[in-house]
Symmetry: C2
Subunit: 395 residues, 2 copies
């Protein structure tokens, strides 16, 4: 600890900010929420539903200082802080959630919930219900018998978690990417709960382009001979297919500007000796991407990825006939923060939802995130909008 | 015929141009070129190499009116015209190649050559040598024993075809996408042959981003259980993997603007009943993309796709240490025509090659194609640059 303080003091001489909370990290624990039964939007019942959740800051007596963070595709409810002071990393939005930060945990009770069919089903810090869960009717994992779930189902489960804590209204809901879908779903489906909504690298619906792009993520899993129509829980899981899916997701969530920087660190050259001499060898950048995907795949479940893809494909906030019609019910003031270089959910997606809200006479604002990372700028490069978010939450 | 003429006369009243060549289509035939042996850039020998080629217009006595068209990834040497007057479609660049067109076959002898490892190996109008060809040493298809080939190998084979016709210099070389790679390879590797080069939707090298993106096309094939390490010629071919690869290629070669138009014609809606009720069903836009890919896959060979991917990954025009260094040898005046909405080879790729040439004091020009199709605008939307191309070729 003394060394950390000394380092902080030293850094203060050269850096503008070395926040006190770096010394005493925000700590959190994963909690478990259970429901005896939940009926999906599609009309199927999931028995013994369980999801994890975590929170930062304190719920006030009026229970009206709640900010819900909805997580992205490959994340879970670990949005900020650490489980243990010696954890190597913090939650993904730690830059903007914490004491004195943009989403100030001295002021707000910040809460996040693990999604249904969470991708990291095999991560011990994730609690989820999905195709890898035991089907109480059979005593075996659901596999593809698990019902299709939608973004609205994620929202409904979050609502049940909040209600179990005596909460009946949010101060705000904020999320990136798949989390932005949940945030806008909240604002459209439960307008009396949501006075403020921030959509980061988001969209209001999945258009034909997005639904097809999402399908590309599912295809490699179904091609893997170990997938076996989703029934692989007593045999070898489809690791190659899952890793292939993650390679595609990773590349689409980034941008050439970042990828080519990575290429430089690998001394990438088009005419590398290995791939020139053998069709079975790969370029350095391919090996880097493959290795990264295989490492990440270890905690993930392939069927869960298929169900998350489907949830995102089925996304139209508010489940109306059209985005325009769906936006009528929104009461929240809204803020859209797409990333200028996003190739996955391009800024036109957020612009379309923002425009639909304006057309309905709603209070909406649109600003683009800068950065070289593409979609991923909405996860790791949020500090640039800290003051905007802080101000948006205060009014 | 009389009805066609009458229709043409009628159309002349409302359209600015109804060219006489619509009445008498440009006709061509596929020809065969054979080489007893060819040694690849990687140092391997291919015996009994055969490729197809076709031409439009007449070679003049001086043999100095030759324009070489280098084709894109999923195409072949059928760049223009028809094989029979009643063919349903013409070659892919028929809008700009023909009598009186931008690449005027009344003036130029236009020629194109099927690539090595051509993707449409099972199309009877394609002649190629690749992994599906019989290895003379074994009497069986090469499979993965076929040597890795590069864009420069494609160029070297084209050079052999031209030399067999007594040609020793080009008037110009022009190609889209993978064809642009060959065009710039020509200009960098054989500068005395090439006074003019046009790169359409092109690049000067494959950067880390592009090499990784190309790898994503290969992965589904290798995942297909029928692929069997490339040894499938006596069994069921990896159709599912090949179709998955084509789905990805198709989407990347297009743009949301076009895709969402397609979605409208299908009455696409995110909350379609089928995919909401069953994880095994798909959205209309996915079914459209799948069907299109399966149809195209019928004439294609999966291993050939892997070899074309590798050829593109290994691309650095001129095979120098860097693009900058490679561009020194170029003597051609060059024209780059990337597509403004290209998401596959984004305009920065062409810009980089153009800038490298300018930096070396070369004569280079850069203009962007407009359109909603993305990469594919460089194939089907070329008419907009017809006058620029005509003028570029005349000077």
């Amino acid at each position: 600890m003394a060394r950390i303080v000394a380092l902080c003091v030293a850094l203060l001489l050269v850096l503008p900010a070395c926040a006190a909370n770096e010394v005493a990290p925000l700590l959190t624990t994963k909690q478990r929420f259970s429901m005896p039964a939940y009926t999906t939007v599609g009309g199927r019942t999931i028995e013994s539903l369980q999801v994890g959740w975590e929170s930062y800051g304190k719920l006030n007596q009026a229970r009206d200082n709640v900010i819900l963070i909805t997580h992205y595709f490959s994340a879970n409810s670990h949005a900020a802080g650490k489980y243990h002071p010696d954890d190597a990393t913090s939650g993904y939005w730690d830059a903007i959630i914490g004491p004195g930060k943009a989403i100030d945990t001295n002021q707000y009770f910040v809460i996040s919930v693990d999604s249904l069919a969470n991708l990291n089903a095999n991560d011990p810090s994730v609690i989820t219900t999905g195709p890898s869960s035991i089907n109480p009717d059979t005593g075996k994992p659901y596999g593809l018998d698990f019902p299709v779930v939608t973004i609205k189902d994620f929202v409904n489960v979050q609502k049940a978690v909040l209600e179990s804590l005596g909460i009946s209204k949010l101060h705000a809901v904020i999320g990136p990417s798949m989390g932005s879908m949940q945030a806008l779903e909240w604002a459209a489906s439960y307008p009396d709960w949501v006075p403020r909504m921030i959509s980061v690298i988001g969209s209001g619906d999945s258009d034909a382009w997005t639904t097809a792009a999402l399908e590309q993520w599912a295809i490699p899993i179904r091609l893997d001979k170990h997938w076996q129509d989703g029934d692989y829980y007593n045999s070898q899981p489809p690791v190659d297919g899952l890793a292939a899916s993650l390679m595609l997701i990773t590349q689409q969530a980034l941008h050439p500007l970042y990828f080519n920087q990575q290429g430089e660190t690998l001394n990438y050259h088009p005419l590398e000796t290995g791939p020139l001499s053998s069709i079975r060898e790969s370029h350095s950048i391919v090996n880097w991407l493959t290795q990264r995907a295989r490492t990440r795949a270890q905690k993930m479940d392939a069927n869960h990825l298929l169900y998350l893809v489907r949830a995102c494909q089925l996304f139209l906030a508010g489940h109306g006939d059209s985005l325009q019609q769906s936006m009528r019910s929104v009461k929240a003031k809204t803020l859209f923060l797409p990333a200028e270089n996003d190739l996955l959910l391009m800024p036109y997606m957020a612009q379309k939802a923002h425009d639909a809200l304006l057309k309905q006479g709603k209070n909406s604002r649109y600003e683009e995130l800068e950065g070289n990372l593409g979609h991923f700028d909405g996860v790791v490069n949020m500090q640039q909008k800290a003051e905007l978010i802080r101000s948006f939450l205060q009014h």
